[in-house]
Structures are given as structure tokens and as C-alpha cells.
Symmetry: C2
Subunit: 343 residues, 2 copies
């Protein structure tokens, strides 16, 4: 029988883990008017943290829903055939039927990646990749030679932003990550010019000092993944015509109440600065830009590289999810489901 990952209990405050999820067996699906699919990868992402709160939209006893990539097993649709690879948002059920209307929203991955790269479908060619792409290319609009600061630089989104900014747009790229090991990987593997170990900074003032040390003239862009003192430090170092793109505030996710940040709006007037929130959907769904084409090209050229922290099997989801908030991951956290598992 196919397995399904179910939310066991909600969590308002604190770090989630295996105890908040459980596995349930599901019936074998009937194909209906669409397709039957097998999930090969499911994704653990920071944004899911909000959704397991008691006021979130994930409900105890119901299947978890999130970003997945997989393979078509059977199809009643002319545009999908058995063996095709796809990315989508689906319940975390290993084998399931998908109705025709929903299958029409699948992203086609066949031709872009091979089956052993299927996890890219929830990473660099999925939500985190499209977040990095939309935020950098369309929201921040980098110019050659500009300086960008990227928080969460060892993570799936941040590392991709930095590699694109460096390799595609020729920017000066500064990261921020937690601990010397991550900072080394950010510089050596992802090619950032500098990386600040924010765990060495006890205050916004400390962080500003570290940032000014590597960017004495300030920063032109800030890509916000974390919130808290990072946002305030970025605003203090932001140059005229500076842009800030906000796609995540992971420092808030495990708190029961959001923390406000200080902003001095008068500083934004003569400097013509912008702070803009955004999410990946316009680019992931192909409404804006050319995400899949551009990113697949940059991957093939080696301008963007992939690093993953891999977990195995649906029942490892809770540990994978916890790793996101304990800083236990480098690059994208993926949960691979064995394509050969007996059901």
C-alpha cells in the first residue's frame, strides 16, 4: 500500500520534529480522468512552518501538502505519458491519482534533467530556484559591479541567489551564514566573495561592523531570507537606489508572535530605496520571466551548482524539517523516496 505523510499535531512555538508527523497507509488509487503518479522526492521548506501552526491551513490528521517531483506511471492525458518527469504541489502520498485539471499545472522536467536528478525538481528547478530567480532577476534587477548581500547563503535559495549574482550578473557577492563550516562552503563551493558568520555577531551593530568591513561603500541589494537583525543591518548599509527583496523571515518562524523590525523611512526618500516582498509563484508558474529555461541553461553551463542535504524515505520528513531550523542543512533539504520501494 502507498504511504502518506500526515500531520499529527500542530505546533505554535518551537522547533518541529519527527514527533509532529506520522505515516499512514493509503489505498491504491484509481486513475480517473488524469494520471497516476509516483513521487520520487518531497521537499521540506521553511515556509511550511507557518502552515503547521494551529491557525495554519495544515490540519492534524490530514496529509501534508508540499512541493514534490515524480514520474507519471499511467496517463489518460495526451500531453503526459508514462515515464515523464514532473514537478508540482501535491499531498505527500507516494502513489496517487491526479485529476486532469491539476495535472495541467505540472511543470515538465523531462528533457531538463534525468531521473537521478529528480530532486532538482523541488530545488533549483522548483520553489527555491524560482524564488532565487524571481527575487534576483526581476525584483532586485542587478547591474554589473553592484554589491549584493544574501542572508541564509548556505541554504537552497541563498546559495542559488549568490551563484547567479556572481556568475550571471558579475556582482560582488557577500553572504551570511551560521558557523565557520558553512561560511567556508559558501565561499569555496558557491563562490561568494565574502561570507559573514552571523553567529559571531551579538547585535545589529556587530553585524553592521562585519558588513562594513567587507563592503566599506555599502551594499546595493539585500536578499532577505532570515529577518531580525539582518534586515536592520542591511538597511543601515544600503546605498542610494538600494533594493531589498524579502522572501522569507526564518528567524520568526518558530515564534508564536512575529517580531517587528525598526525602519527609518525618512532615510529612504533621497536615496530612492525600495523594500519589496515577493513569493515565487509568478515565476514558478511561468507568468513572469523564463525561469525553467534560464535556470536549466545556467545549470548546464555550471554557473549554478546544486548542493543537497538528502534524507531517505517519507518517515524521515520530520528530521529533515527540523534540520532547516537547527541550521543542520547545507543547500536544499530533500527527502528522496526509493523508486523501487515495495508498496
Amino acid at each position: 500500500m502507498p504511504k502518506t505523510l500526515v500531520l499529527k499535531t500542530c505546533l505554535d512555538e518551537g522547533i518541529p520534529g519527527p514527533e509532529h508527523f506520522e505515516i499512514r497507509e493509503s489505498p491504491w488509487p484509481n486513475i480517473g480522468d488524469g494520471v497516476i503518479v509516483r513521487l520520487l522526492t518531497v521537499s521540506a521548506d521553511p515556509y511550511m512552518r507557518y502552515r503547521i501552526r494551529s491557525d495554519g491551513d495544515y490540519k492534524p490528521g490530514e496529509p501534508m501538502l508540499g512541493l514534490v517531483a515524480g514520474k507519471i506511471l499511467e496517463s489518460n492525458l495526451s500531453d503526459w505519458k508514462a515515464g515523464d518527469l514532473f514537478g508540482s504541489e501535491l499531498p505527500f502520498t507516494e502513489i496517487q491519482s491526479v485529476p486532469a485539471w491539476k495535472a495541467k499545472t505540472f511543470r515538465r522536467l523531462t528533457g531538463l534533467i534525468s531521473e537521478d536528478q529528480i530532486s532538482f525538481g523541488v530545488g533549483v528547478l522548483g520553489m527555491p530556484g524560482s524564488t532565487a530567480y524571481g527575487g534576483l532577476v526581476d525584483i532586485l534587477q542587478p547591474k554589473e559591479g553592484e554589491t549584493i548581500w544574501v542572508s541564509g547563503a548556505a541554504g537552497a535559495v541563498g546559495s542559488t541567489v549568490g551563484m547567479m549574482a556572481k556568475q550571471v550578473f558579475n556582482c560582488i557577492v557577500i553572504g551570511s551564514a551560521g558557523g565557520p563550516e558553512k561560511c567556508q562552503i559558501v565561499k569555496e563551493q558557491f563562490g561568494f566573495d565574502h561570507c559573514i558568520d552571523y553567529k559571531m555577531c551579538r547585535s545589529t551593530k556587530d553585524l553592521v561592523k562585519s558588513l562594513r568591513h567587507v563592503a566599506p561603500a555599502g551594499i546595493d541589494m539585500y536578499f532577505e531570507n532570515v529577518g531580525g537583525m539582518h534586515f536592520e543591518a542591511a538597511m543601515q548599509c544600503l546605498r542610494p537606489k538600494g533594493r531589498v527583496a524579502i522572501c522569507g523571515v526564518i528567524s520568526d518562524y518558530n515564534k508564536s508572535k512575529m517580531s517587528p523590525n525598526k525602519i527609518y523611512v525618512s532615510n529612504m526618500i533621497y536615496t530612492e530605496q525600495t523594500v519589496q516582498g515577493f513569493h515565487c509563484l509568478p515565476w514558478l508558474q511561468g507568468e513572469r520571466g523564463q525561469f525553467l529555461e534560464d535556470m536549466a541553461l545556467w545549470l548546464s553551463e555550471g554557473k549554478v551548482q546544486v548542493r543537497e542535504t538528502v534524507f531517505d524515505g517519507l518517515d524521515s520528513f520530520g528530521s529533515a524539517f527540523r534540520a532547516l531550523f537547527e541550521g543542520g542543512n547545507i543547500g536544499k533539504v530533500v527527502i528522496n523516496l526509493s523508486p523501487k520501494s515495495k508498496l
Copy 2:
């Protein structure tokens, strides 16, 4: 002899007035390679408040510099002739020579307004008009039927924003102003749908309540002239895809230290909200948009109307400037210089 307005003493904190300025006589100018001009109007504007601080760029004993409109008296340039009307930024000296390089930056007002409308050159066809135009047309980009909130709605910038939003873009327009008299003018003369008397609101919570009363579904745009609790109330009522344009923070101008505002950046992500600072120069200088043409058209069609608080003579500048911070003005504050004064 022509008179010049000079800054007497700097002021870091508190409300400026006549005691901070003095009149000095200037020599009759030599024409040089450019023009000799007579100023007919000089402008008192909130942004000048920063510049008379001890760390500002206006220095005691030196002439005040600001937005002016006037007439060419003599010209050595082919593109300007005696009698032409212009707008510019110049020292506040009644009659002065202007070198050719500077005269090339003059805005031509001949053909747009008559000499008895010359004060429009520092108002609706000058800095405040271009601030209103750039902020509304290009920064906020209103769509028909959207709701906009405008603070400082009785002032030169705010009233013009509201009239354009209502008459040109068919928006629902809510103002905010201090006191029942101003609120009545904002609604009756400037045609806003609603106006909130912020002096009746003791807290951000009060202001949010008043705003929700007239805009139960929230606001799509906020035009920021004042700062403080207005900014926070606007962010609390801002709808998805909401935009905030920041051009002034008058509540800060008389303090020695700027006050920070609270912002919850996580609220901006899924709502795709934007906060953007800007100033008028790109539109005033003709680098962006078609400010002079569009605004002169809307004026002639009666879509935008002008209301002024008029002071007479250079020596009234201090009182005019003070009125800006005491709420003593409705519409644009202008200082008219008699075109017939003996020199």
C-alpha cells in the same frame, strides 16, 4: 538694491520662524554669459527644514537657496528672451545674474501659465506638483477603482495627489489632515471621498480604526507625507499587492533625531507589498514621465485645482516657513515678491 534672504542661525530642534532669517542688500548683477532674472515667487517647503540644521548644507550668513519662479529681464542666450517666465532652484535674491550653464536647466513656464499665475511655478508645476505626479503616476501606478490613502491631504503635495487619483485615475481617495476645517476643505474643495482628522486619533490603533471605518477592505496605496503613526497604520491596512510611496516625513523634521517605525517584513511576502522612497527630481527635470505637459493639461481641464496660502515679500519667508510646521497652511505656501517693488 536687490534684497537677499540669508540664513541667520541654524536650528536643530523645534519650529523655525522669522528669527532664523534676515534680509541683506545685494549689488546689482552683471549679466555675464547668461541672463539677468527677477524672482516673482519663492517657495517655502518642508524639505528645507533638514537643510537649516547645523549639519545641513545651508550655512549661517549665506543666502537661502530654494525653488523659485520668475521672469527674464535681460538675456545673452538665444533660447531665453526678456519677459520669458521660468522655474528653477536659485538663491533667494530678488534680481540676480544666472550663468548660461545654469539657465539651461530652467523650466520654461511661458505658454503654460500667465504671469499672474507665476506662483504655480513653485507649486503645481514645480517641486510639489512633480512630487505628487511622480509618486502617484510612476511609483504607485494606480488602477481604476483602487483605494488610496494620502496623508498631509490639505498640503500642496497631498491635495494634488488626491485630485489626480480621483479625477484622472478614478480611485477611491481617502485623506488625512489636522482639524475639521482642513478636512472639510479636503473633501469639498479637493474632492476626496473621505478625510480623517488625525488630531482626533491618539494612537496608531485609533488611526487604524478610523481608516478601517472608511475603508473596511483596506487600502491599495498609501502616499506618505508625514511619517510616525500614519506609516504604521497604513501598513496595518495595506492590502495584497499594496504599494507605499514615501516622499516626506514631516513629523520628524523638527526633532533632533529621527524616530524609527515598526515594520513587520514577514507580512510583505505573500502579499507582495512594496515600500518605496522617492523624490521629485527625475520628473521635475524631465528624465521620467511627462510632468509639465500632463499637469498643465489637467490644470486646464480643471481636474487639478490650486489652492495657495500666500505671503508677501522676502521678509515674510520666516513666517511662511513656520506655518508649514504649525499646520497654518492650506495648499501651497508661496511668498510672492512684488514685480513693481523699487530696488
